[in-house]
């Protein structure tokens, strides 16, 4: 895994987990890799993985069953989508609008592009 972003690694790992769940590699309700296994897979300090998992637990994307391991939450996909949506609205959309204004793009022009895509 390449960590190219400025973003903290534990957050990048959390996003990597989102990808695994969204593209169906990790299914809802399934047991996921342990902290150590994922650390070895991504070649990252296990403590960093632990922090990612803590974050994911807070977001209710995964759950920890004591003594058994970590599992994908039953409604993980919805949680991730709503989280992504929130991020999109709060961060990406304002930046997008800013650029639109900068290049003087009209709403109609954008609509045309959206329909084409």
């Amino acid at each position: 895994m390449n960590f190219n972003d400025n973003k903290a690694i534990y957050l990048q790992i959390a996003e990597w987990v989102f990808e695994q769940i969204l593209n169906g590699k990790w299914k809802e309700g399934d047991r996921i890799m342990s902290v150590r296994e994922l650390g070895t897979l991504l070649v990252v300090n296990p403590n960093t993985i632990l922090r990612s998992y803590d974050q994911l637990q807070k977001m209710e994307v995964i759950v920890n069953r004591r003594g058994v391991g970590y599992f994908v939450a039953p409604d993980a996909t919805d949680k991730i989508i709503s989280y992504r949506r929130k991020q999109f609205v709060e961060k990406d959309v304002p930046a997008f609008f800013k650029t639109m204004k900068l290049v003087r793009m009209s709403w109609e022009e954008l609509e045309g592009l959206y329909k084409k895509s």
Binding site: R36, T40, V43, V44, N45
Partner: protein
């Protein structure tokens, strides 16, 4: 697990290496020890292992005075030298010789690490192997001893490119909640994501001893096109990707720790770093 207190050290005729140095390290962490050439990184590891005796101050390792080199301490400490020494025996005999000294030595782990390093034959004489191959064997052995403390002096020096990757991988396998791993190195890029504690040694003192989370809490590491920022800049470097910046983290944005940038920032702003990180003391 390791407590250095007010250590003063100099070689018989030479200059002072450590001047009233104190450092405390705890288990469950992989520490990176950084410093310029001649800063005394190897000497510091040796003091922790009881191989060098400070002129004053105390070095407590696993609750024992390190310089007594008691068997109880040595059983739970492995010191990996930069230039590993191997006797003229086979790998199999090496294990027969030395594994019995370590109660938690794990043969399966050892075999797995050797396998990952692509060392196939246990019957090869160690002295007939190349320097890099010997080092791989001794690293595998060191990790398989499962000692509570593992001191590694430039472990990736002399390893070829694929082996460095293997090294990183097996380090994540060997790290656990109890173990204290201290890696002294110049090869920052090799260990970027392995390390969760950064210790910087300079001019006889510990300039910084902080957890990675602590560092990214207080400092920002970013690549930007413009350097316009309202945060105090500690270090700036230009390259093809843009400007690499280290700033104080006023807005509480979590960024990715870059140890090389951190090192340079610390070297250029020793006092400010000290204020930021040691305010409590």
């Amino acid at each position: 697990m390791i407590q250095l207190q007010n250590i003063n050290f100099s070689y018989q005729k030479g200059r002072t290496i450590f001047d009233d140095l104190s450092l405390s390290l705890k288990g469950g962490q992989i520490y990176g020890l950084f410093g310029k050439n001649g800063a005394g990184k190897t000497t510091l590891l040796k003091i922790m292992a009881g191989l060098r005796f400070p002129q004053s101050g105390s070095s407590i390792t696993l609750g024992q005075h390190a310089e007594l080199r008691k068997a109880e301490m040595l059983k739970d400490l492995y010191f990996l030298q930069e230039e590993v020494y191997v006797p003229a025996i086979s790998i199999r005999d090496y294990v027969k010789c030395y594994a019995p000294f370590y109660e938690n030595f794990d043969n399966e782990q050892f075999d797995e690490y050797l396998h990952l390093f692509e060392i196939a034959s246990m019957d090869d004489k160690l002295t007939a192997l190349s320097h890099g191959q010997r080092k791989k064997v001794v690293i595998s052995f060191a990790l398989a001893t499962n000692t509570k403390i593992l001191l590694m002096d430039e472990p990736t020096n002399g390893l070829d490119i694929p082996s460095k990757g293997v090294f990183r991988k097996i380090m994540t396998m060997a790290a656990n909640e109890e173990r204290l791993i201290l890696i002294s190195t110049h090869q920052v890029r090799d260990l970027q994501f392995l390390i969760d504690g950064v210790v910087i040694l300079d001019n006889g003192h510990i300039l910084l001893n902080a957890n990675a989370d602590d560092i990214t809490d207080k400092l920002c590491f970013k690549i930007t096109d413009d350097t316009a920022t309202d945060e105090p800049i500690l270090y700036c470097e230009e390259n093809l990707r843009g400007n690499l910046l280290v700033t104080e983290n006023i807005h509480h944005i979590e960024t990715k720790l870059d140890i090389e940038l951190l090192f340079n920032a610390v070297m250029m702003n020793k006092e400010r770093i000290n204020e930021l990180f040691n305010a409590k003391n």
